[in-house]
Amino acid sequence: MTGADAGREASATADTADATVGDAPADGAAGGAFADAAAGGAPAEGVLVVGYGNALRGDDGLGSHIAARLVEDPRFAGATVVAAHQLTPELAIDVSAASLVILVDASSGDRAGAIVTSRVDPASAGGSASSHHLDPAGLVTLARDLYGAAPAVFVVSVGAASFDLGDRLSPAVERALPDAVEVIAGIVGGHRDA
């Protein structure tokens, strides 16, 4: 964790006491919420964005990089933005409190930098769970079975070039970050207008 960005806790949001960029929980505990839902009427009220992945594994850390950008973006005012190491059962509580959930992850199957959006239907989600983290469908299923929640859930994945040890992104993924933010903003906008 050498370096300004990775080492700094609460990097982009020094004012937000519980932000935890660059220090994603190793045990998969829910990361700190960057910005909790603000006063009513904010543009992204009821939106939960979880950027997840291992910040020390190259492009796997793109989730927390995107989370850091969203916090700065006025279009996401009022949203709960979380940077997490993995999807953990605790996040089901946050999912159940949201009307729109966007999960942001790195994918190994797609071309580096390619952005793919998919939707998870809470009603039919099955999902799988391994040691103590979940896949997106698993998280949604858990929120449904435990708290009766049925928010709209999107998965935005960005194709990764490298999962090697290190706290930096590959150039292709770095370049794709602004587009990914736009894609997420588009989902939020579409949800608000609907």
């Binding site: 964790m1 050498t2 370096g3 300004a4 960005d5 990775a6 080492g7 700094r8 806790e9 609460a10 990097s11 982009a12 020094a14 660059g22 220090d23 706290d167 930096r168 992104l169 770095e174």
Partner: protein, 238 residues
Amino acid sequence: MTTVYTLRIDGRDVAGSEDATVLDVARENGIDIPTLCHLDGITDRGACRLCMVEITGSNKLTPACMTKIVEGMEVTAHSDRLLEYRRAITEMLFVERNHICAVCVANNHCELQDTAEELGLTHFDLPRISPKVDIDASHRLFSIDHNRCILCLRCVRVCDEIEGAHTWDIMHRGLDTRVQTDMGIPWGESTTCTSCGKCVQVCPTGALFEKGRAVARGSKTRRPFLPWMKVVAEERGL
């Protein structure tokens, strides 16, 4: 009577007195030029090279803190090229020593960290030098961790100009350059150090810190005393 010069910085018409530096005038006018070695109350040194600006008519970059303004000067303080240089300079400051923010006493209170963030320095392209560097914890109250020193020489200047002790100075050259106490003896054995702590207060990183401070607890809150002390010193003709 002081003469007032008018000049342009980043296309804005600004003015300053004849003995002002480009950095002074820029700051007075709300134009932010990054720097890690300048500190109000001590003389400028041009050590960090972050405040480099372009001056029309000159083909080389000039440190804003060391450049007196001239009538009709055209200064570019912000450009893509300058941003690139400043990022590179900051990156070099990082790779030259061993900066581990996450477990540093100055985490979240660090000017180097802030600068990297402001400049958008997100990763290093240069290889890390990872030198084996010492810590001197022999002083009863303070320690210096050379791993975190960026050689801004604020400690050297404040100790000489404000405290008048001149305990701090520099030794060796190039990558081996270190700040030193007295003639390179352990700080705790220094006969000139008054243990005033000013060097710790002015240090922009976690290199100089109060002993016993835990990680991220090293905020330096007593800095504003400096300009005031400088004024007092001048009034007394010291």
